[in-house]
């Protein structure tokens, strides 16, 4: 009897509390639809209240960059919120500079849309599109890096600058997430797209891409990024390591394509650890033979006895090749320690201005 009583009493308490929770959920968590205004009425969307600004924009096919997938850790999804964004959250503060805070810049993934909101988005982001594509080729270029080529289905062409990246939409159990990968194919090839993707243990995006087979369909958005060749006549110095070679494959082969050949001096220092990690070596060596102003320097940090090239890290040997006279523009893509070391060397030993050093930092 006492057992039955206790069950009934506990059920009554739990039942009443459950009703209270459901009511609270109805009244407190759900919002009405709100209006999202982009660039002073240029575009106007109706979005569900309570979602984040980033979700609201993506839902309406405005693809602003977000390499971390809305976790607030990459700081790419900056948007100027003119009205209705609420107070700046502690999760945004570390990602925004003082000037940005003054201007009303916010992280779209952290701002919750609760009422009508007005935002300003740069034109280049409004041009970003969503693409559907089919895998037509996969090649394992190293034991851990796959070269994967897609044929664009819809839209059929992509207009991008060498060095930019796309965000693959990776299906997971809890919806799709975005992962950023640099484009490795050249600018002139607009109907196909090649990526180099390194398998990261436990990485959701790279595991997905490595599992793709010819004929599979994928979706991605792009192009994003400012890691592109600047308009000047300075020497182009590229330092890459590991899978960081991907944007340089696009950059170099776009600078020396059939339609266009640059007359700037172009250097590419590529660092790899083992023999198997040294991919695209023949491709670059052939290009070096064809063009006097392209110089390719492969470097091995763990050489075998038959390796005849440079030994060490690419940052150790740039000084042996480069003179101090000519003006330089430096492009970096590799592990953070390599990039930091390269920045130190070029600013201190070669007097390169910091604004002339560009890096792709989601390696």
């Amino acid at each position: 009897m006492s057992l039955l009583n206790s069950i009934i009493v506990l059920d009554i308490i739990a039942g009443v509390l459950a009703v209270v929770l459901v009511l609270a959920n109805r009244t407190l968590v759900q919002y009405d639809d709100v209006t999202l205004d982009v660039n002073d009425g240029e575009e106007e969307f109706t979005v569900e209240g309570g979602s984040t600004l980033l979700e609201g924009l993506i839902e309406n096919e405005v693809y602003i960059p977000s390499a971390c997938g809305g976790q607030g850790s990459c700081g790419y999804c900056t948007v100027n919120v003119k009205e209705g964004g609420g107070p700046v959250l502690p999760t945004e503060e570390p990602m925004l500079s003082r000037e940005q805070l003054m201007e009303g810049t916010r992280l779209a993934c952290q701002v919750k849309v609760r009422n009508d909101i007005e935002v300003e988005i740069e034109d280049k982001y409004l041009r970003i599109q969503k693409y559907r594509a089919e895998v037509i080729k996969t090649v394992d270029v190293t034991p851990s890096i796959v070269e994967i080529t897609f044929d664009l289905k819809e839209p059929e062409t992509i207009d991008f600058k060498a060095g930019q990246y796309v965000q693959m939409q990776v299906p997971t159990d809890s919806g799709t997430i975005d992962r950023a990968y640099s484009i490795a194919s050249e600018e002139s090839m607009t109907d196909k797209l090649t990526l180099n993707v390194q398998l990261v243990e436990g990485g959701v995006g790279s595991t997905y891409i490595h599992s793709l087979e010819v004929g599979d369909e994928v979706e991605f958005t792009g192009p994003y990024g400012d890691f592109v060749i600047q308009d000047s006549d300075k020497d182009i110095i590229g330092l890459a390591a590991g899978v960081g070679l991907a944007p340089f494959r696009s950059i170099v082969f776009s600078l020396f394509s059939e339609e266009y050949t640059t007359d700037r001096e172009v250097w590419l220092f590529f660092g790899a650890r083992y023999k198997d990690d040294m991919y695209y070596k023949e491709k670059f060596e052939r290009l070096e033979e064809e063009h006097d102003n392209f110089h390719y320097v492969p470097v091995r940090s763990v050489p075998d006895p038959d390796w005849e090239g440079e030994v060490g890290h690419n940052t150790d040997i740039v000084g042996d090749y480069l003179g101090e006279e000519s003006e330089k523009e430096v492009y970096l893509c590799g592990p953070p320690p390599m990039m930091q070391q390269a920045i130190d060397i070029f600013t201190e030993e070669f007097d390169v201005l910091e604004e002339d050093i560009l890096f792709d930092d989601f390696y």
């Binding site: 006492s2 009583n5 506990l10 929770l21 968590v29």
Partner: protein, 193 residues
Amino acid sequence: MKLLSILIAAIFAHNIALRYFLGWCPLVSQSKKLSSAWGMGVAVTLVMTVTSVLNWPIYHYLLVPFGLEYLQYIAFIIVIASSVQVLEMAIERFFPSLYTTMGVFLPLITVNCAILGVSLFMILRDYTFLTGLVYALGSGIGWTVAIISLASIREKLRFAKVPKPLQGPGITMLIAGIMAFAFLGFSGMVGIE
């Protein structure tokens, strides 16, 4: 008069944090900044008061008549858990900045022993409904006083040279311990039965 002395006692002489050492996890972790300490203090006071108001009738009108006093722990815990849920939704809606500041510690109020402790003390000491309410409110204010004072001291700690091994929680525990000594001085002021 009796209510007033219970209130004063709950805030000072029988401070739930510094006399009974309850609710120390958020006390140590949320006292880095005065603003978040305020938020946490207000949230704890609110949950404490609301849950004891709910727990008193549940105990006296539901558990006692059926002789189910032994269910008080489970009953109190689920009341606390759902009150925190409702409070969390309300804070997210009306104070989003406070919501992100408190982060994981808001749902953690659920397992803040000070909340359960107040409800249990209320039953143990056989308080009437009104006394229980005043006691819970006083304890909440007392806990807030403790975390605010601790946060104020910790903000000034920037100017002090704290030995490396003691930085962070270590020095905080020491400060809170000294504060507990200081609060012991209130014990002659009022008693609690």
